[in-house]
């Protein structure tokens, strides 16, 4: 038995290693497939010509809610000011934030002109998976987009999008922090601006 011990240890080591490698692969594969699927469905929304703007925005909003962890993103975008907000402010902010994101990104997606999303690779980053993709365009260099995907109770969700090294979340947080700071550190100042911006046009 004693002679066998190293073999048993080796056996367990190999089994354990290959299992964790398998889990890693499965995790990577899941995350990559999640992004590729979402890209395909976004494409379907984009290429349908018959939709009115309202329908398009509605489809975009449901895709957004399905693919992104908006409550977490919103909270992070508020940064340290999240703590200073009252419960009422938090719930109003959550709604305004969603409207703001829909308004901002629906406009950008409206300029669709035949780009396709190609998933390139993925890697683990603590508890998140970072999926690297390229937006492929005609006659122009591809745009690199990294998606930070986190497992949630309702499946994988995107928590940040990094375009050519620029984090949308960090950009949003910097902007919100600036608005709050300029209104004397008051979260209400941001809510006012968000209200104004989501009601106009």
């Amino acid at each position: 038995m004693r002679m066998l011990r190293p073999f048993i240890a080796a056996f367990f080591a190999v089994t354990f290693l290959s299992l964790s490698a398998y889990a890693q692969d499965a995790r990577a594969e899941n995350a990559e497939r999640f992004i590729a699927d979402l890209g395909d469905r976004a494409l379907q929304v984009l290429v349908v010509d018959t939709q009115s703007d309202d329908e398009r925005i509605g489809a975009f909003r449901s895709l957004l809610n399905e693919g992104f962890d908006l409550p977490l993103i919103g909270r992070y975008a508020l940064g340290r000011y999240w703590r200073r907000a009252t419960p009422d402010q938090k719930s109003e902010y959550a709604q305004l934030f969603e409207d703001f994101i829909v308004r901002t990104y629906a406009a950008r997606l409206g300029q669709y002109s035949g780009e396709t999303l190609k998933v390139v690779s993925s890697r683990a980053d603590n508890k998140d998976m970072i999926v690297t993709s390229e937006i492929v365009r005609d006659d122009q260099p591809a745009i690199r987009v990294d998606w930070r995907v986190r497992e949630s109770d309702s499946g994988p969700k995107i928590v940040d999008v990094v375009v050519e090294g620029v984090s949308m979340l960090l950009t949003q947080r910097d902007e919100f922090a600036s608005v709050i700071q300029r209104s004397g550190g008051n979260v209400e100042g941001l809510l006012t601006r968000l209200r104004d911006s989501t009601t106009e046009n």
Binding site: V166, L169, E175, A177
Partner: protein, 270 residues
Amino acid sequence: MKPSQTRPAEKSPGAWGLSIRLSLVGLAALALSACAATGDAGHVADPLEPVNRYVFAFNQAVDTTLIEPTATFYRDFVPDPARDSVRNFLRNLESPIVLANDLLQRDFEAAGITTQRFFINTTAGILGLFDRAAEMGLERRDEDFGQTLGSYGIGPGIYIVLPILGPSNLRDIAGMAVDYYFDPLNYYANNTDQNGITLARTVVRGIDARSRTIETLDEIERTSIDFYATLRSLYSQRRESDIRNGAAPSLPDLDMTGGDDEDRTASLSD
């Protein structure tokens, strides 16, 4: 009034130009040591924010009345291939700057590519008008001394909005000053008293760059609630990405799984 208005814009690289550039380097070196200076808003240090916002407003006015209309005209009336050739030509002229910085970053592979690109594009690309090297798989990668400083571990220092030139920071201003000396064209222009060359190049490069960002910038402005803060964040992140040469970005830490009152993000922004 007229001459004194136009002369500073020429950025004449005469004696005063050089001394200004040198003193900028000194100023930058001083302030870079204080680069931990904290701006409260967001992750970019911006203690000069009131001045910066003032310059930013000025730049926006100049952009609206002059630069954007010119860039739009340029884009609409100059065919795409011609615009690409203009850009290729200017980029080819910048090859010595890129090469110097490749070498300073000890990136010899990139230095090799930059050198090959220069010879291929200058010959087969007809003085740089065509980017034949890219078609052969030798893609261009921009380098400047600001990036070189960044690769040495030097932080951006404080954020500075330059008149006309736009967003920058102490490190990148120091970089611009040093890059000036890496550029043979500047010596040529200086020695032959043809300062118009460097001015013309700067203007054309600016108009070309602007002509390629008309929709993007318009839209960021339209969808922002603080355009200044958004551009400040975009510029800073973009430069960090350039310094990493597009390598895997270090995404902001998103560990905030705690309850509503637990604010672990505070450590990120302080």
